[in-house]
Amino acid sequence: MKHMRITTAHQSLTFSRRMMLLGGAQAVVGGVLVGRMGWLAIAQNEKYQLLSESNRVQLIPVPPRRGWIIDRNGKPIAINRASFRVDIIPQQLEKDRDIVPEVARLLALDEDDVERIRSELSESRGFRPVQVAENVAYEQYAAVTVRLPDLPGVQATRGYSRYYPDGPAVAHLVGYVGTANAKEYEAENKNPLLIIPGFKIGKQGLEKSLEPYLRGEPGGQRVEVTARGKLVKELEPKPDRSGRTVQLTIDQGLQQYAARRMGDESGALVAMDVTTGDMLAFVSMPAFDPNSFSEGIGRTEWRMLSENDHIPLLNKVTQGLYPSGSTIKPAMALAFLKQGIDPKRRVVCNGGYQIGNRYFRCDAVHGAMDMHSAIERSCNTYFWATGLITDPEQTTEMVNYLGYGEEFDLPIPAQRYGTMPSPKWLEKKYHRKWQGYDSANTSIGQGYVLINPLQLAVMPARLAGGKLIQPQLLMAKARKPIPELAVDPAHLDIIRAAMTSVVNDAGTAVASKLPLDGIKMAGKTGTAQVFRLGERGHQSNWALRDHALFIAFAPADKPRYAIGCIIEHGGFGASAAAPIVRDSMTYLFDQQKAWAALAPLEQQWGGSLAERNARQLATFKKASRPVSA
C-alpha cells in the first residue's frame, strides 16, 4: 500500500471515477441481458417454439384398423370384428372414490385383473386410457354403459378385434395376433402405438411376416394438455389409414374342407396349381384356434394344446419333417430314365433283395417288374436293384431338382427343408463312403431322406405340369415366367402314365379313384417307417405306426392341380392319406360331391371340427380342474 496523502478533493475525484466505472459496468450487464434475450427470442426462436409446441400439444394415437387377409376369390380369412372394451381415463376419475371394485364386479373380473388395473392406474399419465377389459360380452358392456353417468372416468367403447372365420383350419397359415411384449416394443424404438390398450401385432405366420402391409398408419387425436397431464382442449385430429388387404392364393373353401376332412388325424396337406405354383391349401392339423390366441389364451387351453401328442402348436407344413417313403419313386424313376435306364428293363421281385450281407424285404412277391408296373405296384425290389446300377450323385441331383431339400421363398417364417442324401453329403456329414444299402434306402425314400409336406406337394406339381414352379402364397407378388423342366418330355409321360395306373389300374391306390366322370387322378402312395424295418403294418401303439403319405395330380391327362398329403402314424398311405387327397381333389372339381362325402364321416367322428374342439376343451377343463385348482 502506497502512503500518500488523500484529500477530500482527491476522494471526490475517486468517487466520480468509480461511479463512471459502476455505471459502465451496469450498462454492460444491461447490454448482456438484452443480448441474451435477443439470442433466445430471435436467433433460437425456432428451436424454442418447437419445444414449446411439443410441450403444449400431445398426440393420442388412434390405432389403425388391421388389413384383411382374403383368399383368391375374395373370401375372408382374417377380418376385424366389432368388439366391446372398457377403459378408465385416470384424469376423469373422482378423487377419494375408488371405482375399480365396482367396475370389476360389473365385468366379473378376477383379482389378478384388479391388481393389474391398479398398478397401471398408478403409473399412467392423466389422459391416456388404462384398459380394464377387452372383448367384453355385450350384456356386460351394456351393464357398464347404463351406469356410465355414475362412473366418472370409465369409458366403454366399441373397437375391433381380429377374427378368423375358419378358426383352426387357417391357424398355421395365418398365425395370430397379440399384444406387443416388452421386447417387440423395444425393437420398434418404443413406438407408442404398440402400447395403446387393445392394439395387436402379428405374432406368427402370415400375420407376422405381412405385418408391414397389414398394420396401416396410426392417426392421432391432437390435444392440448397441461404440465400435469390435464386435457385442455382437443385440436384437429390426424386421420388414420387402415392396413392394406392382402390376397392369398389360398382357396378358403378347399382350405376349410381339407382341414375338416382330416378328421382327428394329425397331418398336413398342401394343394397347388401346377401351372402357376399358387398354393390352394396349406393345412396343418390339428391346430389351435387363432381366435382364442388373439384374445390372449387361457392357461388351461394352452396346457391342453401343449400336452397333445398330435402337436397342434407345430406348423407341420413347413416345420414337420418326415421320410418320404415310396412317394419318392416317381422322382427316382425320372432320374433313372435320365441316366439311360430302359423303362422296359425288367427286374424280378422274389419278395426281397440281397445287398451285401443284408437282405431287404419287399412288401410282396411282385414277379417281373418294369418301370411302369414297379411304380404302379410300388415294388421296392425294382428300385433297389436299379438304384445300385445308377449313379447316386446324379439321382439325388434329379430328386433335388424336383423340390426335395429345397427352401422356398415364402412369407412363412421358419422353414425346415430336410435332407436328400448323396455320396458327397454323406462324406461331409458322417465321413463315410456311400454304400449299396444307402442307395437302396434312398431309392425308396427311407434312410436319411427327410422332407416337409410342402416339398411333398411341389414334387408331383413339377412332374405333372412339367414346369419348374415355385410355390406362391401372395396373389400380388410379381410373377416371373416359369421355366420348363429340363428333362425329356417323353420321360415325363412315362412317369405320369405310371402314376395314373397307381390310382386307376392295378395300383396301390385303386380304392381312391375320383368319383367323377372323365376326370382321372394320378398319384403315388407312400408308407414311411417310423419305428423299425420289418414290423410294418398295423400297430396298436399310435406313436409307433408308420406315416401315411400320398401325392397326386389331376386331371391325369391334362394336369391342373397337385396335392401332397401326410398323415402322421396313419398306417398305409393308400388307406389313410389317399382318401383325404381324393376328396380334396374332388372338391376342386365338384364341391357338392365333396361335401356329400364329408358329411357321413363327420357324423361318425362326432360333429364338425368346431364342435369336436369345443367338446375336447370342455373335457380337458373338467379333467384338469383338480390339478389347476
Binding site: 451496469q26 441474451r36 397441461t226
Partner: protein, 370 residues
Amino acid sequence: MITSAIIPRPLARLPWRLIFLVTGIATFGLIVLYSAAGGSIRPWAMKQAIVFFGFLSIAVGMSWMKESTIKSITFPLYGATLVMLIGVEALGFVSKGAQRWLDLGPIRLQPSEFMKPAIVLTLARFYELVPAGEIRKWRAIWPAMALLGVPAFLILVQPDLGTCIMVVLCGITVMFLAGLPWWIFAAPAAAVAVAAPIAYQLMHGYQKKRIDTFLHPENDPLGAGYHIAQSKIAIGSGGLWGKGFLHGSQSHLDYLPEGHTDFVFATMAEEWGLVGGVILICAFAAVIRWGMRVSQNARTRFAQLAAAGLSATIFFYVSINLAMVMGLAPVVGVPLPLVSFGGSAVMTVMLCLGLLMALERQQRTVARLA
C-alpha cells in the same frame, strides 16, 4: 418536476418522472400477473396492486425525511435488523427448521429484506465518518467487513443464498465507491477465480450436480434443470412480438414453474416478446439511472454513497433475476422487483426509492437555498 400554478406546491415537487416510471413498471407487472392467473385479477393481481400502492404511498411519505434524520436512524436500524436476524436464527434453531421471517401478529417480517437498504446506509454512514486520509488504512476496511460479514453470514445460514449475495454485492458496491484500494476487490475476485475449479473438484456429488445443472440444464430437463429449461423455452418461443396477451402456453399450461413469482419475466416475455422485455429492461435502467443521478448530484458524502448503494440494490435485484431467468446464473431465488408477485421485494424496493426520493428532495432544497 412539474411546475404549474394549478397543482399545489408539495405535490408538484414530487419526482413525478420516477413515480410514473415505477407505476408503469408495476402496472405492466399487474397485467402479467393477471395473465398468469389465466386472465383473472385473483389470486395475484389484485393483492399485488394493493401492496404496491400501499408501499408507494409510504415511499412518497418517506421523501419528506431529512438527511439528518436518515443518518440518525441508520445505526439503530442496522442494529435492530441484526437483532431480528439473530432472532430468526434462534427461532429456527428452536423449531428445528429453516426460518426466514418473524411472525409479529398480522405482519410477517423478513429481516433480511431490511438488511439490503440497512447495510447500504450503514456503510455510507461509516465511510462518511472515516476521514479522507484514513481511507486506505486497515482501520477503514475491517469494520466495514465486519458490518457486512456478520449479517451476510446470518442470512446465508438461514439459508437464503439469493438475499445473501444481494447484501454482499450492495455492501461491496458502497465500499468500492468509498474509494477503498483496488486490491481489496481484485484479490478476492482473483482468489475466487482460482479456487472455483479446485472447489468444484472437492465438492460432493450433489453439489457438483447443481453446478452442472446450471451449466447444462438441458441434460436434466425433468429434474433440477426443469425451471431453467422451461423458462428459456418460454422466453425463446416468445420471439420478437410475443405470443400475445393471454396466449402464453408455457405459463397457462403450467409448464413454467413459479411463473408469477421468480420467473414472472419469462411469463411476460412469452406473451410480449423481445419488445416487451426490452421495454421493461429500459424502464428499470431509467429508474436505476435516476438513482445514480441522485448520487452524482449529492452534496454530502453520505448522500453520495447511500444513493449509489440504494440504486445498486435495485440494479442487483433486476440483473440477478433476469440472468437467472435467462439461464445465465443459477437459480438462487431473487424476484423481479415490482413485477413478481410478493410483498417483500416491493417493500425493499420502495424503501430504497423512498430514501432516494428523500435524498433527491434534499438536493433540490439545498440547491434552492444556495
